[in-house]
């Protein structure tokens, strides 16, 4: 049974993602290059994306939650998997059993992991997260100082890396970047002999002094521009095509969609597409996005509905848009970053919002 004929279509290029990883690895070399595959690989499918990255040499993956870690472990039995949300009470046994690496976010988690691993007779791995200015997760300056004064607090834990995370790496001129870098170096000076990791996607492009021993790209793997304001060095890997349900003529003066928020000032033609905000096509794009058909731009007209989009196809050659056909909603011409700009958000949210009602197709060597 397939109902593909009635679905919108999401195509994900695993070769492009693998290429992006190799490019980032080469830029960061000799630092190790991990891959961030949290949030279902930024909405693109961890069960397909992670194996494609493992195939080209990635051996350390970051996920956000314990559940994501378990899901990835089932897909890739051998790789290293780090869980960013940390070691919550009652979860240590699961981490040990499935060989997941907790990112320890405070001294309480350090102590708990130490006790558990000692009890289990293992020198189990962990990543230590030091906050340098995000104020979101990680050891605060006081805790980092305590650790520097008493390194025995880490006894029995195999600390693979000490990591921090930058708040403004996509804005190279922000003074917080230099501040975080200095704070991190100071913290590392108090933890001699340990490996360090600071850079996610954007910071990889801030130069060699940001690479340390490990880089952790996420967004850039998936084609989001890590250098906003400059040309995007990454390949696009997503193509979203919406199924045409109807093409209709509309009289001059008539409105389109809820609230009749936009009206035709001439006789017009509307193509109605089987995609809506329930598919993650953000409602903030109402009256403000573009689609493409055979190289022609078509502007959205009307509000984004739950299951439907309406585009103005008045100026398109007759017969180019027909019921059952497809229009391109995201792709090389109108990228997730472009849609993010029009929706007042970031490309990350465009990707992670991609819904479950699409027929998903994977292309590339790993597919």
């Amino acid at each position: 049974m397939t109902t593909d004929a009635a679905c919108s279509l999401l195509t994900i290029d695993l070769d492009a993602i693998a290429d992006n990883w190799r490019r980032l690895r080469d830029i960061a070399s000799p630092a190790t290059c991990a891959a961030v595959v949290k949030a279902d690989a930024y909405g693109l499918g961890i069960a397909q994306v992670a194996p494609a990255l493992a195939d080209v040499g990635c051996s350390l993956f970051f996920v956000a939650t314990l559940d994501e870690g378990l899901r990835l472990r089932a897909v890739l039995p051998q790789v290293d998997i780090a869980v960013l949300s940390g070691l919550l009470p009652g979860t240590a046994g699961i981490f040990l059993r499935d060989r997941l690496i907790p990112v320890l976010n405070d001294l309480g988690q350090v102590a708990r992991w130490r006790a558990e691993t000692t009890k289990a007779g293992q020198n189990a791995p962990a990543i230590l997260h030091i906050d340098t200015g995000m104020n979101r997760l990680g050891l605060d300056p006081q805790e980092a100082s305590r650790l520097a004064l008493d390194a025995t607090l880490l006894d029995g834990i195999d600390i693979r890396y000490v990591m921090t995370h930058m708040a403004c790496a996509d804005m190279p001129s922000d003074p917080l970047n230099a501040e975080q870098l200095e704070r991190f170096k100071a913290a590392m000076a108090g933890l001699p002999g340990l490996k360090a990791s600071l850079a996610a996607s954007s910071a990889i492009f801030l130069g060699r002094d940001h690479h340390f021993d490990l880089v952790r790209p996420g967004a850039a793997l998936y084609g989001i521009n890590p250098t906003p304001g400059k040309p995007n060095p990454m390949r696009q890997c997503v193509r979203l095509e919406g199924r045409v349900l109807q093409v209709r003529y509309v009289d001059s003066g008539e409105g389109v969609g809820y609230g009749a928020s936009r009206r035709f000032s001439r006789p017009g033609k509307i193509a109605t597409i089987a995609t809506g905000y329930a598919d993650g096509y953000l409602r903030a794009l109402s009256n403000g996005s573009l689609a493409h058909v055979a190289g022609h731009r078509i502007p959205m007209m009307g509000r984004v509905s739950m299951d439907l989009l309406t585009f103005d196809v008045t100026d398109l050659p007759e017969g180019l848009v027909l019921p059952g056909g497809l229009v391109e909603l995201l792709g090389d011409t109108y990228t997730p970053d472009d849609a993010a700009h029009d929706a007042g958000t970031i490309g990350y949210e465009i990707l992670t919002s991609l819904g479950s009602r699409y027929a998903r197709r994977y292309i590339g060597a790993g597919a």
Copy 2:
């Protein structure tokens, strides 16, 4: 295996949804009351919601797509299921096999359904959709006139209802409402003997002349206020609780989260929650939403991250928010409509965006 201890928690009250349906049914009586369960029952789970509604007497369900229809058919073998996106080329066989009712959106679909049902030797049901001003889906005025002139175009089809959909029913004073009502009555006059359906949630509250033979509530079932600007007559049915990952002290002058978009002007305290825009907590809520802990309001501080939220808990009594605990992100106090207001959208999008990383719990008789 459960990792609930590390998850945010979404509780869905099936009794509240069933109560809402009964309330709408009573208001619309003697019209029949259907239920719109498209987009996975507005994000709340069609496999749980639809049976709960069937248990209290609902026997006609509307979904958006053919795939949703098939999914619901597998759950409820006996009820009537109508598919709003219509009869796309190549799908008639699936509709017939699974006894799904297509909503016919143009005369081409009417002709195709007629040919298929004749071929199959059935007098198969359909719903006819006439557009009266949305200009999104449905027969346009010219097509409706052709049908009025030649009723034989419907021969061999069991037209259960003729439906239309209103663009501004949530704004009772909008002149388009009266216009659509008149156009619909005129269209029905040309189709004598057929049953009619106009009202979705909001139009049910516009009075008896809007009820016709069938009403089709969606949003109101799920607690969205169908009468904006007036008290909400519906029960809330969603409670979203975010897991606390960390509680941290922040110095005066320090920023929180990406871009350090908000800074403390005094020493403060932040609770970091394991929910983010990848869970459908819209990024548009950055620095602009509320959560609740034991009756205390806590304001968001900083941007919504992919997997994390940060709330200012400086003024909370010590010990009320602890790692592993929960804060209420959505519920009776801060409803989906409230979050929608803060995000600049509608409650519908707040619900349909609810993601898959929550531990979901159903409560109520149907659970």
